[in-house]
Point group: C2
Chain length 394, copies 2
């Protein structure tokens, strides 16, 4: 008696659950220390000490009815003002609290954005490989996700293919940089070219095309690579941000949506985001953690831990013959699988106690994703298994 759509969703997600169960089964046979789980994006780096301090301060000093009570569906005004100020400082903008809505993480943010923008059958374009939930989020509101494949040698979006895919029903483009699953970062040139293309298409079609940037990995960028901020380049820009990774708080569901003041229908979009937060049942982003992050805006986890993991794993895999675009950010590697059938390859990997996610899950077969947000020691210990796996094919 569950809905037809949910039947599909449940059967798809049972595959992931099966992998999880398989991991537990392997751990029970070989011992947890001998199973190498590269399948989850759950940050292993501890939140900065500032979080604990902020929680303690707020709980002991502020009024509990204020800290745990309702506020505007958009979030506390003072929290939004502080975040706006922090963004302005970093990216030379002039945002205020009125540009922001606090959200239950980036997932909550993307859902209120799509609820706000999409009429049934409107189209949202993304580039493969991509985070599979985009398809669900767009579908929640009757929209259609249109997938434009990227060049798999660089994972740069193919702007010519994008141009062909834009039509009068195109309501938004969603990008994700630093990227899950590839770890690549979109260059300033790319963002400029993309913005120019969207401007041109808007004019041609007489429509508004929103550029949505999903940014849970913004702070995880290595080697000094800059992540361009789309509000500096494109008028119809919306950023969905999350503190899940930058502060290692994924369970707390805290993030925000920020819109450019220059966007089309800004005066309609902001109250609609506020109302969408309410009627989708989020009501507001969790209150204590709104106040906590406002005290930790200049803190972040130690990104060097992730960088060392990347270097260790990337260098080793390339050395033993894997082909992989070197990631500049996030905590994922997306190498080519050593046989075309990536699902089969993931099964083979399991024989060496390696849990990996087939590229098909990101609509990019022939690859696999490794989440290296696990301990350095564990990665070191896993290298032998990768050697054995590679030896079967190379």
């Amino acid at each position: 008696m569950i809905s037809n759509k949910m039947k599909e969703h449940v059967s798809k997600s049972s595959i992931i659950r099966a992998m999880f169960e398989e991991g537990k089964r392997l751990a029970s046979i070989y011992g947890e220390e001998n199973v190498f789980d590269f399948s989850l994006g759950n940050p292993n780096v501890e939140p900065p000490e500032a979080i604990k301090k902020a929680v303690n301060e707020i709980i002991s000093e502020e009024s509990p009815n204020m800290v745990h009570g309702y506020m505007s569906n958009s979030g506390y005004e003072d929290v939004r003002a502080k975040i706006a100020e922090n963004i302005n400082k970093k990216y030379n903008l002039k945002l205020t609290e009125n540009n922001l809505v606090m959200t239950c993480g980036a997932a909550g943010g993307l859902n209120i954005i799509f609820k706000t923008l999409l009429n049934p059958r409107d189209e949202v374009i993304t580039f493969s490989p991509f985070f599979g939930e985009y398809e669900n989020y767009v579908d929640n509101f009757g929209g259609k996700l249109v997938i434009v494949p990227s060049d798999t040698e660089t994972f740069e979006p193919d702007l010519n293919a994008l141009e062909q895919s834009i039509n009068a029903k195109t309501k938004a483009i969603i990008i994700n940089s630093p990227n899950n699953p590839t770890g690549i970062i979109y260059s300033e040139k790319l963002i400029k070219d993309l913005s120019q293309l969207l401007d041109k298409k808007q004019e041609q079609l007489g429509t508004s095309i929103y550029l949505i940037s999903d940014e849970p990995y913004r702070e995880i960028a290595y080697d000094g690579v800059k992540v361009p901020y789309i509000l500096n380049y494109y008028r119809n820009s919306i950023v969905g941000y999350s503190y899940s990774k930058s502060l290692s708080l994924p369970g707390e569901r805290i993030g925000y949506v920020v819109c450019s003041s220059d966007m089309d229908d800004f005066k309609d979009v902001m109250p609609a985001l506020n109302v969408a937060n309410r009627i989708l049942g989020f009501v507001n982003a969790p209150s204590l953690f709104q106040r906590v992050i406002a005290k930790c805006l200049d803190s972040s986890v130690d990104m060097n831990i992730y960088k060392k993991n990347r270097d260790l794993l990337y260098n080793h895999l390339v050395k033993i013959g894997f082909s992989c675009v070197k990631p500049e950010g996030a905590f994922y590697l997306f190498p080519k699988s050593l046989i075309a059938d990536d699902v089969e390859f993931a099964k083979e990997a399991k024989k060496f106690n390696l849990l990996i996610v087939p590229g098909s899950s990101f609509k990019c077969p022939g690859h696999f994703r490794l989440s290296y947000c696990i301990s350095y020691d564990k990665i070191e210990k896993s290298l032998d298994s990768f050697d054995k796996l590679a030896k079967k094919y190379l």
Copy 2:
């Protein structure tokens, strides 16, 4: 460029915003202490001291990666087990962690329930007056809310009218007791009769009809009145619970959904609720507060504060000529307005600095709602304004 549906939602909610702005305007003219805002359901009673203690313990003793990290989309297993045990103790049931999904408050809970159950055009029945968001929550998933009016002399649901409204498209009935906006509590006899009716209709139609109980006010019951637990009476029962009121934590968005093990398709419903939590963007109920409430299951705010408020306000209004069903729970009064046009009546009330919500907002014109979750002193001070308002009409 926002969606057509959101245009409607925004214009409706701008009425509420206008009231809020009007309250601020009045406060700036007459002073905040002279404006009597009975419009909001924001608990004014402080959370119990146990909350602070629990936060401090968890933050200082437990691993931050566990406390703030991802867990199952259904919530921490140990938290769900503790809640199940607590429910079992109170209502003599045999629930386990597998009967529960932790949710972002009751609002999040109702949304994952409807996402799980509803195909487009499925019908959900409720009784007026009712919490207006039900219409939005059902509409989020293409369902249709069917409204069965209650007898306005008692606000008891009319089961004959309900029977007429049930058809093959009826997927669920949603009830709310203690009730917003009337404050009434459904008796055991009513729940038994309702269950019997639903059993009969299920058999006649060969369908499953789920009974959903929205229970943010369960603990707010006065004079020893019992609130029957529907899992004890009806097989296809789902309860959406929230700690927003019982622990004064509405901003933290913490609650759960609990399903009867005997329900139809229990084995499909539970994983579907889990997946719905994920794909609607909630992902999981906020992690720290899952752990906090698990330590506070036997705590609650001091309900006597609300009872004193009820007695003061109810007794006075009845004395000066208002007609009102005496509420046995929640923190609302729902008297008849002194003229048929409740919107006009609310405007008149504003002239005496009384902010009240017209019954039309709950699909029950000719009445108005007073939220008495404000301070006793403030209520005392407001009585003079009610006297003046009544004098205009009586």
